[in-house]
Amino acid sequence: MATLSAMKEASVAPPPGRDQPVPRLTMSGVGKVFGAFTALANIDIAFHAGEVHCLLGENGAGKSTLCNIIYGLHSPSSGAMVCDGVSYAPANPKAALASGVAMVHQHFSLIPELSVLDNLLMGQRFGRLDRRGEAARIVTLAETYGLSLDPHALVADLSVGQRQRVEIVKCLMHNPKILILDEPTAVLLPDEITALLEICRRVADSGSAVVMVTHKLAEIEAIADRVTVLHRGIVAARSDRPAADMDGLVRAMIQRPDATGDDPAGLAQLSTRRHRPSGKAADEVAQLDGISLRDELGIARLQDVTLSIARGEIVGIAGVEGNGQTELGNMLAGLLHASDGRWFVEGQDLSKASPRQITEAGVGIVPEDRHRVGAVDRLSLADNIFLNRMPQYSRFGIIDRRRQVAAASTLAQQFDVRAAGMGVRFGSLSGGNQQKAVLARELTTPNLRFLLAAQPTRGLDVGAVKAVYSLIRDAADTGVGVLLISSELDELLAVADRIVVLYRGQIVGECTTDASNREQIGIWMSGKHT
């Protein structure tokens, strides 16, 4: 992170108008309601010329919604905006662009089938294109911001970082007065992040307002001139001196309804464990032996991952997102097969096993992507609780609904899943209840010996986080080996027995959960050990 902090000092000239801020865009009383759900309420905020303004907030806080409103993708349910002194209410992105607002989305909006140039020219003009001239113009533009790109490459062939550069150039082509970046660094490698922040600074220095959404404190420290923290759709805190106010910002961001002190989630209690795993080799539940995995483009996602998990042990996998965690989770779920290496549970080789065989071997899977992998949103809660175990509740191929619903209801009670009934759509449950339902299913896997829990607390509030970890810990206490993948280092430190760090698909370090290891883990995560 050293480079990031260094950069702030490197920013020579103070942004113009720092003393007398010139607002480029002001939002007053802006709210957004989706159906019955209030995503944003009464937001007052101003973005100034020459500043990098960071929006901070946990998942679901409303950051993307705010950005989308500025960019004309959503229209606000209430409130008003003023851009450069005139009332601003873009009907669509085109209108926003015309007013000088450009945006890089959280999810890329490039079309991989098209070339970089075609993506950049997309929607700009309908007539004949002077491809050569445009390409030259774009390369020149990119170079003024220190970016290099090949306009004729196919987007599908680009790395994530390169794609993002294309997205940014696409915005810069409009010469924006306001540049919005929604979580631009989530998928980047550390070098790429540094480069990106440099670009943000340059854009701001040229007199634009840069609005950047992020979860990462280091980035804020490095780049932000001002910070606004969103929490559940309202402004929870603001700061004009973010580096100094960091602690307060963090507290505002992660405040839980029952937040207390430094450990808002109260996770510390969880770290006092009754049984510690013995650590003897004979107690091994699961082993990963030299696992490597390539994606369909042939890019290595996992390299020679070797790891063993003992009975009752919780092994945490730490790492910045996008370093192979997703692939590791999908592989253990049986949705991907390793290109090399094998893995075992209780000595049984599951490297080529199907999801069903994996479940039958006593492996529970709490997947990272609840909606795509962990459940069928449009089926009922009862059906999802037994998604992989319906045969138990059927005879001669016919499901005994009454028995199934009764059993589901018992499980739901046991795992504290709160729902209007067993027949409600799974997708209509709140995130925490969805996750508890998935846990109810996976933790009751017959003969459970090994549990994979990937990002199990994502998007959950504090009560739910605690409940989820209690359930996982209780399982470990009964002798189940747990592999816990999470991007929340604090949670790993509190819950796991041992932490390994994944960086670019490789295990780059391993240590105990002693708080003093935190810095070392950070270094491993950032890839700076090399």
């Binding site: 993708l73 085109k94 089938e113 098209l114 997309m122 700009q124 491809r131």
Partner: protein, 304 residues
């Protein structure tokens, strides 16, 4: 095959391919923008009908052509509203429209022409292309009605549009990822509407070619699957313009062969020749002939 026969075969191939070419060019644009119009068959039939009615009423095939387009536009609009505004299932609405148009043209034909079926409908006549039509062997190939050349011209223009203009990029983008294009500010919905209407116009021309171009008459259900064949040509053409043009010509040749082979004393079951286009397209989508890459968002409604 003697040279005369070859020339006749080529001319015949082209004539049989032109209705497909018109419709397939239109359908290609629409499919590149992500919309499948199963209703091409119905739109062609309506075009054939409208062309015949217009030409018979006014005595001018030119007005017939205008009539054909005017007849088809509301149908294309219906298809477009159903699929692009109401996001109805594209396949099913297309088939529904085909049933509807078959019924309406049959009924309309009987109401308008029933009593005077022997009347000749004014149509376009073949015109020799100066210079080319005098070529020794290939001359006959260049004696065609002007719509033939229009079909090739429009196809070339569409090819140019798709690859060389901003509109082309946006249309192709919409077919792969309409959400992404919408973020760039392009009016996705309007463009999809436009693509379907364009398919309508092209299908109308293809249908009118049948009724007042190639043969100066209308018969009930005269498209006889040509619209489906046009869609198959787009599929077999792997959603690329020049390949689709080749596919249309190939399908035209397969039909023309049915009349050339007997003259050459070669016995091939007719059924096989008729089946050939479908079989080839099937082998192609089955992945047995090259790799097919359909637009990613093909047949998927766009929700803003």
């Amino acid at each position: 095959m003697s040279f005369e026969l070859l020339a006749v075969f080529l001319a015949s191939t082209i004539r049989l391919a032109i209705p497909l070419l018109f419709a397939a060019t239109g359908e290609l644009v629409s499919e590149r923008a992500g919309v499948v119009n199963m209703s091409v068959e119905g739109m062609m039939l309506a075009g054939a009908f409208g062309g015949a009615v217009g030409a018979a009423m006014t005595g001018s095939p030119w007005l017939g052509l205008v009539f054909a387009v005017l007849t088809v536009l509301p149908i294309a609009l219906l298809q477009s509203v159903l699929t692009n505004s109401l996001r109805a299932n594209q396949i099913v609405t297309g088939i529904g429209i085909n049933i509807l148009v078959l019924g309406m043209t049959t009924l309309g034909y009987r109401a308008l022409f029933g009593a005077r079926s022997r009347e000749v409908i004014p149509g376009f006549d073949a015109v020799p292309v100066p210079g080319l039509a005098q070529l020794p062997v290939l001359g006959p190939v260049f004696t065609q009605i002007w719509l033939v050349w229009l079909a090739f011209l429009v196809a070339a223009a569409v090819g140019w549009m798709l690859s060389r203009t901003g509109l082309g990029i946006v249309l192709r983008g919409i077919g792969d990822d309409p959400e992404a294009v919408a973020k760039s500010g392009a009016p996705v919905g309007a463009l999809r509407h436009g693509a379907v209407l364009f398919t309508g116009v092209m299908s109308a021309l293809g249908g009118a070619f049948l009724s007042i171009g190639d043969i100066h008459t209308f018969t009930e259900g005269m498209t006889n699957g040509a619209g489906y064949l046009a869609i198959v040509a787009v599929i077999f053409g792997n959603w690329s313009l020049w390949r689709t043009v080749l596919a249309c010509l190939l399908f035209g040749a397969a039909t023309a062969l049915q009349f050339q082979l007997p003259a050459l004393g070669i016995v091939v079951p007719n059924a096989l020749l008729i089946m050939l286009p479908y079989l080839l397209a099937f082998l192609a989508v089955a992945g047995l002939v090259g790799r097919q890459t359909a637009p990613r968002a093909l047949a998927q409604p766009f929700w803003k």
